[in-house]
Symmetry: none
Subunit: 198 residues, 4 copies
Amino acid sequence: MAQNSNHKDDLRVRRTRKMLHIALIELTIQKGFESVTIRDICEHAMVNRATFYRHYIDKYALLDEYMDSIYELLDHSQGEASPDRPDEPPAGLVRLLEHLRGHADFYRVMLGPKGYPQFGERIRQYVEKRLRHALPENAIPSAPGLPPPEMLLRSISSASLGAIVWWLEKDLPVSPEQMALWGTQISCLLMGQISSGQ
Amino acid sequence: MAQNSNHKDDLRVRRTRKMLHIALIELTIQKGFESVTIRDICEHAMVNRATFYRHYIDKYALLDEYMDSIYELLDHSQGEASPDRPDEPPAGLVRLLEHLRGHADFYRVMLGPKGYPQFGERIRQYVEKRLRHALPENAIPSAPGLPPPEMLLRSISSASLGAIVWWLEKDLPVSPEQMALWGTQISCLLMGQISSGQ
Amino acid sequence: MAQNSNHKDDLRVRRTRKMLHIALIELTIQKGFESVTIRDICEHAMVNRATFYRHYIDKYALLDEYMDSIYELLDHSQGEASPDRPDEPPAGLVRLLEHLRGHADFYRVMLGPKGYPQFGERIRQYVEKRLRHALPENAIPSAPGLPPPEMLLRSISSASLGAIVWWLEKDLPVSPEQMALWGTQISCLLMGQISSGQ
Amino acid sequence: MAQNSNHKDDLRVRRTRKMLHIALIELTIQKGFESVTIRDICEHAMVNRATFYRHYIDKYALLDEYMDSIYELLDHSQGEASPDRPDEPPAGLVRLLEHLRGHADFYRVMLGPKGYPQFGERIRQYVEKRLRHALPENAIPSAPGLPPPEMLLRSISSASLGAIVWWLEKDLPVSPEQMALWGTQISCLLMGQISSGQ
DNA sequence: ACGTAAGCGAGACGGTACGTCGCGTCTTACC
DNA sequence: GGTAAGACGCGACGTACCGTCTCGCTTACGT
């Protein structure tokens, strides 16, 4: 685990990667993700363009690495991992929303029309994964005539992401806790009520 | 108004535009929307590149024109615009789903990871618009402590779009009518229950 | 022969190619052939770099085209093509030397240490070709014990080129006619005397 | 002067330089001198690129060092430096040709179209130097109307180099002794006859 | 023989040229 | 007047090589 002399431990390497991350985010906020060129990033980060390619194959790889670090941070910070009681916003969701609020400018762009389609999808999948974990295996019955669980999960996670985008676009009108509460209500309603059969 | 010598009535013009539409769609299915270049489109359509620019400023304008024609078609074909009874799939929704099924290859790509973010958003807004029309002004109470109607609308339309994407990705496992029914159930549940429940 | 609408007849094309030729020559004089980059050429010629590649694959192709035009010019201007009498400098040789004098700066560099090895070789081959044409088939006997004709031709053409380089390096101390005379003397001596057997 | 702790006596240093020499030569034979990069050399020599720069500033310096060692070897091995009789191939010339034969692959490339212009010139100057030494000061009369001695020397040395290139290109069809004899004949003829004849 | 200074390997980095590609504008000629 | 053909300027791309640098390891040398 504690691998020595890794190239990622090199001070210069860490400095370079960090500056590229910052440049990507700041430029994305300024002009939208797709409009940002690798040239832009390098100039803003004061890094030679060839150096960029020594670390990443394109800007998507840079974004991926950044997102990975975020997810790792979110997952590791959960610590207490309380058994999420239904009808109560899970700590993970609140933490996610707090993180989004902390980088609202960035996420507002990334999830908006000048964003990157796979980015929102990745967040949706994260939400879906958490939903699956928060539920018993067979919490959602799959009776004929009812929407299949897979479709329900997709709908709920999409609804959540939609609510998040709305929240960001409206400039965070309510607290993360309130958002988490509403989101949980909606989710539980859909999953529970449908299962109990209209 | 009925200008005879209209530029768009010219046979050559109509032929050119049509071939460009076809080329855009076929190439998008093949390699994803962003990967399609104007060069590609022109070669596939056997149209000179300069000619493309005489009609559209970029491929987004070409897509927009195509989408406009679709929406016009959808809205005009509804004819009777029956007062959609809740709990029953509205005719407009079924028609939309049938259209998607008819061009599933194209929409699957456009709404997927190689698609175009504003494209899905446009469909979501169309759904949201229909939802607003299908509901009385104050159908959704906005009591404090409850999710605001705007957020609910956003969530429901996002959920619908999510369900549609799921349906396309799974290769249309159920009929448009079934999808419309499920979608309506979910929507009504969210809007109604929230307002009365809790 | 008189092919119409050839792309080389395009005024813009002729202008572009001409400016690239001039840039190549002037820059070669300034800093030596190998040091000249395609960027240099394009900036000096006020031509976009991509345009360069539309015409030539590299600077060697540009040089080749230039040299081809020179050789064509030299061969076509001979007009009278008098039956070159031995012991008298052939008109072609004088014309070649006059051309070299007219572009002495360029050839001095190209044939010097900062030049291009294949360039001198091409001139040497041109001289050798003229020598072959100026001689009857069996003018040079190939008796055993004597240098083979092929080797003699190589030596004489090399000697001629060497003399030319000397002439250019010394800043043209004598007239082209004088040079041609001396060169012819040396050539005839080598070919004739050797054959008559020491 | 006889510094013991010389940097060049270090075993590691000698090993490194030797491997770089070998790599340069083998790679030059394979792909031509200009195409060989310092990276190539270092990889082939299994030497780190930074180490190369600790010894040479570029590949030309490496080549120079190699050539210096060759010339030193040639000049030292002549030993008896007999007063070369005209009409008889001098021992130095034979030794040079034997050396060329021993490394024919390398010289064939270096003197050919993928070679290095200054390399042939250096050999030519070596030949010219030997010619000057082999002749009395005023062996060549400089009467008006006759080619100046400087030009003659240049021509003869160029002719000799040309003959050598021919010999290498033809894959050494005759022995070094035969080549030396022919070369001497040609040289003497040019120098002697011109002065007395005409 | 052994401690140490030097040679060396590894590789990050800034720089610069390369050759390619797509874009959008323009001109010319055809129909 | 719509179109084909295509030259051109522009600018981003990804790659290659250059020369410099810092950091440790290891190794041959000199006392």
